[in-house]
Amino acid sequence: MRLPLLALLAAGLAAPALADSWDDTVAAARGQTVYWNAWGGDERTNDFIAWASGALEAQYGVTIQQVKLSDTAEAVTRVIAEKAAGQTEGGAVDLIWINGTNFLSMKKQGLLHGPFLADLPNAKYLDLSEGSAAVVDFTIPTEGYESPWRLAKFVLTHDSARVPEPPRSMAALLDWTTANPGRFTHPAVSNFMGATFLKQALIELAPDPAVLQGEATDEAYSAATEPLWAWYDALRPTLWRQGESFPENESVLQQMLNDGEVDFAMAFDPAAAAAAVERGLLPDTVRSYAPEGGSIGNVSFVAIPFNAAHKEGAMVVANFLLDPATQAHAQDITVLGSYSVLDPARLGEAEKAAFAALPASPALPSNEALGPTLNEPHPSWMTRIAEDWARRYTE
C-alpha cells in the first residue's frame, strides 16, 4: 500500500510544470500541508489561522501548519539559506505573511514565486487597478507576487479611566509626555510597530509629506526628517525609562498598558484593543483612536517563495483568504477584527449582508474616529529612519 503512494508523491515532486487551470491547482493541492510562516505574537491571528486550516481541510483537503515567527525576517533568512544550499525546490517555507521591506528584499533577489495573484478566482473581488491599495505594498507595485489578506491601520490606545482626553497629534503628544513623564513609550524602532510610529510622526511633521512617496534621496531625507528629529530629541527624555530602553513590540507595550506601567499602547489594527478587552488582556475602559490628521494604513499580503514545496496548496490558501465569507469572518470583532481588503463595490448583496451583520464593541473606534488613511512612505524611508534612529540613540 505504502509504496505506490510514495511513488505517486515522488512523481508529483518530479513534475515541475505547474497546473494550467485553477481546477488543476486545486486538485494538485489536495492533501498538501502548507507551512505558513506568519508572525506568531498575536494569539487571535494564530487562532484565525488554525480556524482557516480546519475550513480548508474540509473544503479542499489542504491543511495549514503555522510556523510562528517572532519576526518575518526569519522566514526570509530561511529562504536565503535554502538558496545558499542550492535547494531550488521542496523548500521549508510555503507561504509568508509579508510586507514592505521584506517583500522588496525578496522580490529584488528573485526569491518569490509568481506572478500568481491573477490566477486566484477570488481576485475578482479586489480592486486591481493601478495604484490601488490591494496591488501596492509600501508604494512598491506588487505585480502579482503577493496577495492581500488583511487591512491594517495605525491607532493609539489609551485607558480612558486614567487619560480621559488623549493628545490627538504628535505635537500634542509631546506636550502630554512633558506633563506626564515616563508614561508613554513606543516599541523599539527595529520592530515594525516602532518604525511605524516614527513614520506616522514623520508624515505629520514633514514640511512636504508628498516627497515621502518617492525614494528617500539624501537631500529629500535631511529636509523631511529635520523636524522629526528635533521633535524626537525633545520627546525622548520624557519617555518611559527616559527613552533608554523600549519594549520589543506592540504586544509587550499592550501588556505594559495593562500592568499600568504606561498609559498608551499602539497597534496596526483598529480592533486590537477591543479584541484584547474581549480576552481579558486589557481593562474594559480602553479606547482606540487615530491622530486627527489621519493615520498610516496598509494592506498585509501573503507571498510564496520560489522554492516552496507546496505552491498549489499555498495558492489555495491565498485564494481562500480572499473569499468574502473568510474576510467577513476575519472582520468579526470576536475573531480577528481586521478590516476587509475587498472592494465593497464588487461584492454581491448576500456578501455585503454578511459584513453588515457583524457585532460591535465600545473599544472599537468608529469610522469617524479613525479618520482618513494615509499612504505608507516608500520603504527606503523606513530603512533610513530605522538606521538613523539606531545611530542617534543607541549608546
Partner: protein, 569 residues
C-alpha cells in the same frame, strides 16, 4: 600485553563521537568562519575580505554589547562560585546528601527560559513583589518607572543566571566534596584555632577547585553566550553580544549575516580568552593564596561572610521558587491588574485548548527529548563499557572531547551547522533537531554517569565473570541493574537539558519544529502572560516529572531486590 578486549566497541564509539559530535561542530565553525570573512554565495557574497568585521565594529551599540557580555558573564560566574562555596561551607555536614539533592533538583530541572520568564514578572516594577507591597507599603497606585528588569547594567540578567548557576555549582561541589576528607580537615583546622570559613577557603576550597574546574569553564562559556535568558532579562538597546548576533542572523537585511558570523567567531574568541584569563587569574590567586595561607591568619571573623553567602543562596532559591509559582498562578488567572497581590479573576481557558497550541509543542518536546536522551544514554553506556573492558582510565583528550560542545558557544557554530545540514538535504526536520540537541545532551549524560559507573563494586562483575557470564550478560544482568538509579538520573538530566534547548531548535528546526521552549521564548515577547504561563509551566514540569520518575522507578522496579535498591542510590 595491551588489553584488546572491547577494542571494536571502543573504535565504534569513538567513530560515532567523532562523526556525530566533533564533525558537526567543526563543519559549523567552518561555515560560520567563511561567512565571517565574506564568503556566503547565497546572498551574493563571494569574495573573501575583512569587511564583515569592519561592519561589525561599526554596528550601533557594538562596543556596549561587548562590554555588557563580558561584565554579565564574568560577574555572574564569579558571584555564583563565591555564593556556592559559602553556602557549601555553611551547610556541609548539616544536611544529608539526599536532602540537598531534593533541595537542588527543582532548580536544576527548571529550564532557563521558564525561570527567566517567571523572574521577569516577579521583579518587574509592576511585578509580583511590587504588587504584594503596593499600595500599602510603597504608596504606588501605578508601577514606578524603575528599570528592575532589562536594566542597562544587566543586573537582572546576572540575577537570573545566578538562580540557575548556584545550584549547578552546589551540585558539582557536593559531589567533589565526597572525595575530600572534609570532616578531618575541619577538625584539624578548628583544633589549630582557625575559623570554619577560613578552613574552607584555605584548606578545602584549594582541594575542591581542581575537581570542579571544567564545570566552572562550562558555566563561564554559557554565561558569556546565553541567548534565551538574555532576551527575557537582559537589556534590549543594545543587548548582549549573543542576543544582538542572533537578531542580526535573522534580520531583514540579509547582508547582516556576514557581520553576525564575524560576531559568532568573536564570541568563540571571547570564551577562549575568558577561559585563558581565568587560568591566569587562577595562577595569581594560587601565588597570593599561598602567601596568605602561610601568614597563618586564623580569620575568626569569617563567620559573617558565610552567613551572607548562605543567605544569598537562600534568597536566590526563594526567588526561583517564587518565579515558578508566579508562572503557575498566571496560567490559571483571567485578569490580574496592578496592584492586586493575587489575580482578580480565575480561568482555565489558557489550558483548555491544547489543540490550539501547547498540545503540539508538548508532543514535539517529548519526542525530541526522549530520542536525544535514548541516543545519548546508549552512546554513554557504550563508551563507559568500552573503558571498562579495556580497563583504561579516561585520557585527558577524551575528557576534553566530552566537554567540547559545552565549551564552544552554541551561537558560534549553529548557523554554520544549519547551512551544512541544508546542503546535506536534512532541512528543518526532527532528525536535524534531535542530532543538534544530542550534541549538548550527550556531554551532560556522560558527566552524570561517569562517576557512579566507576564507583561500581568490581567484585560483582568479577564474580559474574567467574560464573561464566560473557561481557554482554555482565553488562545487562549485573552492571545495568546495579546502576539503574544513576542511569535513570543521567537520563533525567539528559531529558531536562533537551527540554531546555533553545538555539539548536531555532536554527536547525527551520522554524517547523516548535518546542515548549521556543514557543515560551517567542510568547514571552507577546501580550498574554497567561498563555506564556502555560508553556513555561509545562516546560518546567517535564523535567520535574523526569527527575521524579528517576527517583521512583528504581524503588518500584527493584522492590524484590532490596539489596540493590540501597546499594546504588
Amino acid at each position: 600485553m595491551r588489553n584488546t578486549e572491547g577494542r571494536w566497541l571502543r573504535l565504534t564509539v569513538l567513530g560515532l563521537v567523532a562523526a556525530g559530535l566533533v564533525l558537526p561542530i567543526l563543519a559549523g565553525l567552518w561555515e560560520t568562519g567563511r561567512a565571517a570573512f565574506g564568503y556566503l554565495p547565497a546572498i551574493g557574497a563571494e569574495t573573501l575580505s575583512i569587511d564583515p568585521w569592519r561592519r561589525l565594529w561599526s554596528l550601533p551599540g557594538f562596543s556596549t554589547s561587548l562590554s555588557l557580555t563580558l561584565w554579565t558573564g564574568f560577574a555572574s560566574t564569579l558571584l555564583a562560585l563565591a555564593i556556592a562555596t559559602g553556602f557549601c561551607a555553611a551547610v556541609h555536614g548539616r544536611m544529608s546528601a539526599g536532602q540537598s539533592a531534593r533541595l537542588l533538583t527543582p532548580f536544576l530541572a527548571a529550564p532557563h527560559a521558564a525561570l527567566a520568564i517567571g523572574l521577569a514578572f516577579l521583579i518587574a516594577p509592576s511585578g509580583w513583589i511590587a504588587r504584594v507591597l503596593s499600595p500599602w507599603a510603597t504608596g504606588w497606585d501605578l508601577p514606578p518607572d524603575l528599570a528592575t528588569v532589562r536594566d542597562p547594567c544587566g543586573i537582572a540578567l546576572i540575577l537570573g543566571l545566578l538562580v540557575k548557576e548556584v545550584p549547578f555549582f552546589l551540585l558539582v561541589m557536593l559531589s567533589a566534596l565526597s572525595q575530600v576528607p572534609v570532616r578531618a580537615h575541619l577538625a584539624a583546622g578548628r583544633a589549630l584555632g582557625y575559623g570554619r570559613g577560613v578552613v574552607w577557603i584555605k584548606v578545602i576550597a584549594p582541594q575542591v577547585y581542581p575537581l570542579i574546574r571544567l564545570p566552572v569553564f562550562v558555566v563561564l562559556s554559557f554565561a558569556l553566550s546565553v541567548v534565551d535568558m538574555a532576551i527575557i532579562l537582559g537589556p534590549s538597546n543594545p543587548p548582549t553580544l549573543a542576543v544582538a548576533m542572533t537578531r542580526w542572523f535573522f534580520a531583514a537585511d540579509t547582508m547582516l549575516i556576514l557581520p553576525a558570523s564575524a560576531a559568532a567567531l568573536l564570541q568563540t574568541a571571547l570564551v577562549a580568552g575568558g577561559i585563558l584569563l581565568w587560568l591566569g587569574a587562577e595562577r595569581a590567586v594560587t601565588v597570593a593564596g599561598r602567601f596568605w595561607i602561610r601568614r597563618g591568619g586564623r580569620g575568626l571573623s569569617s563567620g559573617p561572610g558565610l552567613v551572607l553567602a548562605g543567605a544569598g543562596a537562600g534568597f536566590l532559591m526563594a526567588l526561583g521558587a517564587a518565579a515558578l509559582l508566579a508562572l503557575l498562578l498566571w496560567s490559571v488567572a483571567w485578569r490580574w491588574p496592578f496592584p492586586d497581590a493575587l489575580p482578580e479573576s480565575w480561568s482555565l481557558r489558557a489550558w483548555a485548548r491544547p489543540a490550539m497550541g501547547w498540545g503540539m509543542a508538548l508532543k514535539q518536546t517529548l519526542i525530541i527529548g526522549l530520542a536525544t536522551t535514548a541516543l545519548s544514554l546508549t552512546l554513554a553506556i557504550a563508551w563507559l563499557e568500552g573503558e571498562d573492558r579495556a580497563g583504561l582510565n579516561r585520557a585527558r583528550w577524551a575528557e576534553g572531547l566530552i566537554y567540547l560542545p559545552l565549551l564552544v558557544p552554541q551561537v558560534a557554530f549553529l548557523y554554520g551547522l544549519s547551512v551544512t545540514f541544508l546542503r546535506a538535504g536534512m532541512t528543518g526536520g526532527m532528525v536535524a533537531v534531535i542530532w543538534g540537541q544530542a550534541l549538548f545532551v550527550f556531554p551532560y549524560v556522560m558527566i552524570a554517569l561517569s562517576d557512579p559507573w566507576r564507583a561500581l563494586d568490581r567484585r560483582m562483575v568479577r564474580a559474574a565473570a567467574a560464573l561464566g557470564a560473557g561481557p554482554l550478560r555482565r553488562l545487562f544482568a549485573v552492571k545495568l541493574p546495579i546502576l539503574l538509579a544513576p542511569v535513570l538520573t543521567a537520563a533525567a538530566i539528559g531529558f531536562a537539558v533537551s527540554v531546555a534547548q533553545y538555539l539548536p531548535t531555532l536554527f536547525l528546526g527551520a522554524g517547523r519544529i516548535a518546542t515548549l521552549t521556543t514557543e515560551a521564548v517567542t510568547l514571552s515577547s507577546g501580550s498574554d502572560r497567561r498563555v506564556t504561563g502555560v508553556y513555561a509551566v509545562l516546560q518546567a514540569a517535564l523535567p520535574f516529572a523526569a527527575y521524579a520518575a528517576a527517583l521512583m522507578l528504581p524503588a518500584l522496579l527493584l522492590r524484590h531486590r532490596r539489596g540493590l535498591a540501597g546499594a546504588s542510590a
